[in-house]
Amino acid sequence: MNNGLGEPQRVVLLGGTSDIGLAIVRALCSPALRRIDLACRDTAAGERAAADLRADHPAVEVEVVGFDGAQPETHQTALDDLGRTGDLDVVIVAFAQLGEDGGVRDAAAAARLATVNFAGNVSAIIAAGNVLRRQGHGTVVVLSSVAGERVRQANPVYGGSKAGIDGFAQGYGDAVAADGVHVLVVRPGFVHSAMTAGRQPAPFATTPDRVAAATVAALRAGRRMVWAPGVLRYVFSALRHLPAPVWRKLPIN
């Protein structure tokens, strides 16, 4: 159960090795936190992340389980299994792949990416939501991206999958609110993480820790959407309305 200070007792990270996801998990550590579950496809890497968490938070139990975002049909079982060991207070959906810039020629590769980033995220969110609805409480944190706000020509598969998951998560949040389930959509800009390693940072680049701090503040305040950094909300409300010919020529594209 979350306590009255908004501190959870149990946090699940889907995409258990995600830099942003792990930063959010750390920001949720408090004397109330009792258990963390890292669900990842690379469980050896997951164990390394778990060892770091255990070293810093010896009172918290940290478990690693296998989880493949590309296999949506396994998600409900995976989440049900997690739910059987006690209530899930916060489930963070942080698995996604960036793909290659310019990857608009390989139809099969695009579909694989869309499967993880969209179909797999949708099924994971619903699977988690089903557990939380039965519990009558809990929060799903969905890592969307500003990339979905106005999709860039450089990587429309990634951007398109983020636009889709962002819209889905908002609508789903409305659908399950009456069951006590809260959905928080996080829209980070460029974040220095494994995903963006070696890439040229975009304007307003930020860090996983700052995204995590903004996410936790939004969770405590019961918000449904948070931008990180916050200024991007205004930047993108301008970018969204740029005429296509102008947008296409922008250097950020």
Partner: protein, 457 residues
């Protein structure tokens, strides 16, 4: 049955449950229909934290009528349904010359809630908690059996139910000893104290002289004024104390709610350092330096907050944390530290109440213990509130103190195990009464109070 979001009076952690209004007759059979998330009884939801909610499970509410109240004036006892409120009860018993032996700071609590929290009042230093006045409790057990427990008949279950936060069974009714009163007024002495030390020595010197004693303190005052406060001590007035006008009808009782705070308060609430500073300043200044023998009514002395319905809404959407703990009498330093840390932190608390408690009762999870109890409200969204409160917890537990379940929204399982060393004893009785874990609450999950959760089917 409706699916409803339920929260405590602090409105901090709402969760959704199936809410069923029921009666003492129907409830036993309905327990068989409960799902794996279990069941809980809820009174008027005046506990501040998550004691009266059961996420994903069933929450029963007793539709009791005041017509079921049976007053025995000879024995000075009343038998009353678990869903009847102290508000309703007072309307019956005060005109008949009786008063409840213990009342909390609001009359909108049920008898079930009063027993399940083993509540205390301004007379705890003299009279003990609610449990000292309960003669017997009619309980529905998890298997649907109805049983009557008392200090003589199954005392273990009786005392485990007092302060048992709803986890031993459903309280259908109880027989309670009342105190006789000659009038519905109180004779109140008021004393303004410049700081915490003065207040504590006044309490030590004066508490025993009167049945009721409590102090309100300004949680924002710092430095030499730290803990400046208003102490009130009182007794029930006798007919001879009343003037001619009131004397004609010495037991008249009128308790009205003047207004209800609408849900339109801004999400951030109205509570900030400025409004609260002003409120506390006015309250302190309004009190006379010293006044003796002032006549007050029951509502104005015991339940001043009830004049405004849903006053908790002033805290806005994020709600408030009410923080109440007790430390032994020889540890006033903990009270000092907490009050000064909060004042320095600038947390705008608009209610801080200090009281001296008398001896503990026999119930293993009952909160009161001899010493000082401090209760304060703070807005839940406050910056760095969490580390501050967790820091206080260590201080309180190290001093041999504990937290009050009826108020708690933030402590951790280990804190309860330290504060309530008899938890294991209570759990053994609880398990006997509910071997398959029917009774569940958000609080029991958060604090790991019961063990057999979820396998009652």
């Amino acid at each position: 049955m409706t699916r409803e979001a339920l929260a405590g009076w602090g409105s901090t952690s709402p969760t959704v449950a199936d809410v069923r209004w029921t009666t003492a007759q129907r409830l036993p059979a309905q327990l068989g229909e409960v799902g794996e998330r279990g069941a809980l009884l809820r009174g008027l939801g005046r506990s501040y934290g998550d004691a009266a909610q059961n996420a994903g499970g069933t929450v029963f509410r007793l539709d009791d009528s005041v017509h079921g109240v049976v007053l025995d004036p000879q024995a000075a006892t009343v038998t009353v349904g678990g869903g009847v409120s102290i508000d309703e009860l007072l309307r019956v018993i005060v005109p008949a010359g009786f008063f409840v032996p213990v009342t909390p700071g609001t009359r909108f609590v049920t008898i079930g809630g009063a027993i399940a929290s083993d509540i205390h009042g301004k007379n705890h230093h003299r009279d003990g908690s609610f449990g000292s006045f309960v003669e017997s409790i009619e309980l529905v057990l998890a298997d649907g059996r109805v049983t009557k427990v008392s200090p003589a008949c199954d005392p273990e279950l009786f005392w485990a139910t007092l302060g048992g936060i709803g986890l031993t069974g459903a309280i259908l009714s109880a027989t309670i000893r009342l105190i006789p009163i000659g009038t519905s007024r109180l004779l109140v002495d008021t004393l303004r104290c410049a700081n915490l030390d003065e207040l504590m020595s006044q309490m030590l010197a004066n508490d025993h002289r009167r049945r009721y004693s409590v102090a309100w303190l300004d949680p924002l005052a710092t430095g030499a004024a730290l803990g400046r406060s208003v102490l009130t001590i009182a007794d029930h007035a006798e007919p001879g104390d009343l003037g001619a006008a009131a004397g004609a009808d010495p037991l008249s009782y009128r308790a009205a709610q003047r207004a209800t705070l609408p849900a339109l308060v801004p999400p951030a609430g109205l509570i900030n350092r400025m409004t609260v500073g002003l409120f506390n300043e006015l309250w302190y200044r309004r009190a006379p330096r010293r006044r003796e023998g002032e006549l007050q009514t029951i509502p104005s002395f015991f339940h001043p907050l009830d004049a405004v319905g849903r006053w908790n809404r002033v805290y806005g959407r994020r709600g408030m944390i009410q923080f109440q703990f007790v430390v032994p009498e020889d540890r006033p330093d903990v009270i000092h530290t907490v009050v000064s840390a909060l004042a320095e932190h600038g947390t705008p608390s608009f209610l801080a109440v200090l009281k001296r408690m008398g001896p503990s009762g026999p119930a293993p999870l009952s909160f009161p213990a001899p010493g000082w109890t401090l209760a304060l409200d703070v807005p839940a969204g406050g910056r760095s509130l969490a580390p501050l409160l967790h820091g206080f917890d260590d201080l309180i537990l190290d001093a041999g103190g504990r937290h009050y379940f009826a108020k708690d929204a933030h402590t951790v399982p280990a804190a309860i195990r330290r504060g309530y060393p008899r938890l294991g004893e209570w759990q053994a009785v609880q398990r006997r009464a509910d071997p398959h874990g029917l009774w569940q609450s958000d609080m029991s999950r958060r604090l790991g109070l019961t063990h057999a959760e979820g396998d009652h089917r």
